[in-house]
């Protein structure tokens, strides 16, 4: 841990830097209910979703649940390099804040993102008939389901039952919020000009933060309280996999447009107002090889990093941004991502800042 001597006097921030720092809070952010999911925020749905999330009976084989990969004891991820399509399992903490789901944003709601693994043959492989049978067998589940959606339909081919289960899983996941962090204490202290509290934030983290909101240009994409603009970018990670190239956002949009489960489809509640992003999003050649800008909260508990889990430690991510191959990036204007060529001390500072975005529980385990 950081020695007491590291709590030095605070660094000077310009008014511009200060404004940027403040824009990364307050935390926790308010969860806006998802109007495409009429049971979002409903306590019965949250409880049912919580149970089903770890219930192996949900899978056709009775061997798997969501928690097999999104382990609640590991910040709702699995710590493995990649599990599915050579993609790293993302944490589900703060997932309720997102607009697009999956590294490629192939789904536009938390319930559609939950439906995919629920129904996929290679994952839980649950069918409407399988779920209907489970509800017939388990009285507690059935009572909750009926209270929310009415009698489970006898028509076992009806996909609504799967969508409804996915909506309860989503209601549960929307309650998963990452804890406050040393950065949040600093940010609030800065907002209140509380110099004693400001000085408690290690000066290495303060210097790293200065790079983050300044020269490093990290805040261009990792913006706002969740440290993501919710969009997609190419930061120069290789996207070739054993089975070819991962098309990233390009492929995600392809799936989104053709999915019957997007916000413009018949299974979405809430109507057009909840579909603004889906209705207006466009596909462009540059989307090929772009991946979602991940949140940076709770990093200490979510290694490895990047869409393919190819960076083992936070230090490796910093090294990537320090030495990134610029010829790989097709930006013709002013470069946002470029090799920062950090000195070892600067790299340590940026790492210290990134680590300060984790709460007490994930810090303890490291």
């Amino acid at each position: 841990m950081i020695a007491a001597s590291a709590f030095a006097q605070s660094i000077e921030f310009s008014p511009e830097e200060r404004a940027r720092i403040l824009s990364h809070g307050p935390w926790p952010a308010v969860h806006e209910l998802d109007s495409s999911n009429r049971v979002d925020g409903n306590p019965i749905a949250i409880e049912l979703g919580r149970k089903l999330f770890s219930d192996h009976r949900l899978s056709a084989s009775s061997k798997r649940s969501c928690a097999s990969c999104h382990d609640p004891k590991r910040a709702f991820q699995d710590g493995l390099r990649s599990t599915r399509h050579q993609r790293n399992t993302p944490t589900l903490l703060d997932v309720g804040q997102q607009r697009w789901f999956g590294w490629d944003g192939a789904t536009d709601s938390l319930w559609a993102a939950s439906l995919a693994p629920l129904a996929a043959k290679s994952e839980l492989a649950a069918t409407p008939a399988h779920i209907a049978a489970l509800l017939r067998r388990d009285r507690t589940l059935n009572v909750a389901y009926t209270a929310l959606f009415g009698e489970a339909t006898a028509d076992a081919a009806n996909e609504t039952i799967l969508v409804n289960i996915a909506k309860t899983l989503a209601a549960f996941q929307a309650t998963l919020v990452s804890p406050r962090t040393p950065f949040d204490e600093f940010r609030d202290a800065l907002a209140q000009n509380d110099s004693a509290a400001i000085a408690k934030y290690p000066s290495a983290a303060q210097r790293g933060l200065k790079t983050f909101v300044g020269e490093g240009k990290c805040f261009f994409c990792h913006s706002g309280p969740a440290f993501t603009n919710g969009e997609f970018a190419d930061v120069g990670r290789p996207f070739f996999t054993k089975s070819g190239a991962d098309p990233g956002r390009w492929g995600g949009l392809q799936q989104l447009f053709t999915s019957p489960y997007n916000r413009l489809g018949q299974y979405a509640d809430g109507g057009a107002q909840s579909a603004v992003a889906t209705k207006h999003v466009i596909q462009e050649p540059r989307n090929f090889g772009e991946f979602k800008v991940p949140s940076l909260r709770g990093l200490l508990g979510t290694a490895p990093y990047f869409h393919d889990g190819s960076a083992r430690r936070i230090e490796d991510v910093v090294q990537h941004y320090s030495t990134v191959d610029e010829s790989r990036l097709h930006a013709d204007g002013e470069k946002i991502v470029r090799a920062l060529r950090l000195t070892p001390a600067q790299a340590r500072d940026l790492t210290a800042f990134l680590k300060s975005l984790s709460g007490a529980s994930s810090r303890k385990s490291k």
């Binding site: 404004a19 940027r20 261009f220 913006s223 997609f232 209705k279 207006h280 999003v281 466009i282 946002i336």
Partner: protein, 133 residues
């Protein structure tokens, strides 16, 4: 040339000859500050202000003359040579009022907001720089 009356935030402007194109009795009223070029004027306010990086916003737009047509709304980051990840849509609400939906600035920095407006057989492009912190 131009007679403007300040009413709180809104400014009622009769834009000289162009007021003739609008319904004859009503002066063409648009919110200030407005953009003016080649006989057309555009006033706009963001519905969910302030505009925030990574959040969708809608705009209420007023055009003068009132029978002018909005033909395109877009925004780019000139320094980074990219546009939005979304294509805005818009609808006429009547009397020169329009509603634009689906705008989103996904990065901080300078955005160039662009309105293409056609009136009297010509299309004008009006732009405004917006810098997000």
């Amino acid at each position: 040339m131009m007679a403007c009356v300040r009413r709180r935030v809104w400014l009622a402007c009769s834009l000289g000859a162009f007021a003739l194109n609008a319904s004859a009795s009503e002066p063409c009223a648009i919110p200030e500050p407005s953009l003016k070029k080649g006989g057309v004027a555009v006033g706009w306010v963001a519905e969910n202000s302030p505009i925030t990086v990574g959040r969708h916003f809608a705009m209420n737009v007023r055009l003068c003359p009132a029978d002018a047509k909005l033909v395109r709304v877009d925004a780019t980051m000139p320094e980074h040579r990219h546009g939005m990840n979304y294509k805005a849509s818009f609808a006429a609400l009547g009397e020169g009022r329009w509603r634009v939906e689906g705008m989103m600035f996904h990065m901080p920095g300078r955005w160039l907001l662009r309105f293409d407006v056609s009136a009297a057989g010509r299309t004008e492009t009006l732009t405004e720089s917006i810098t997000l912190p």
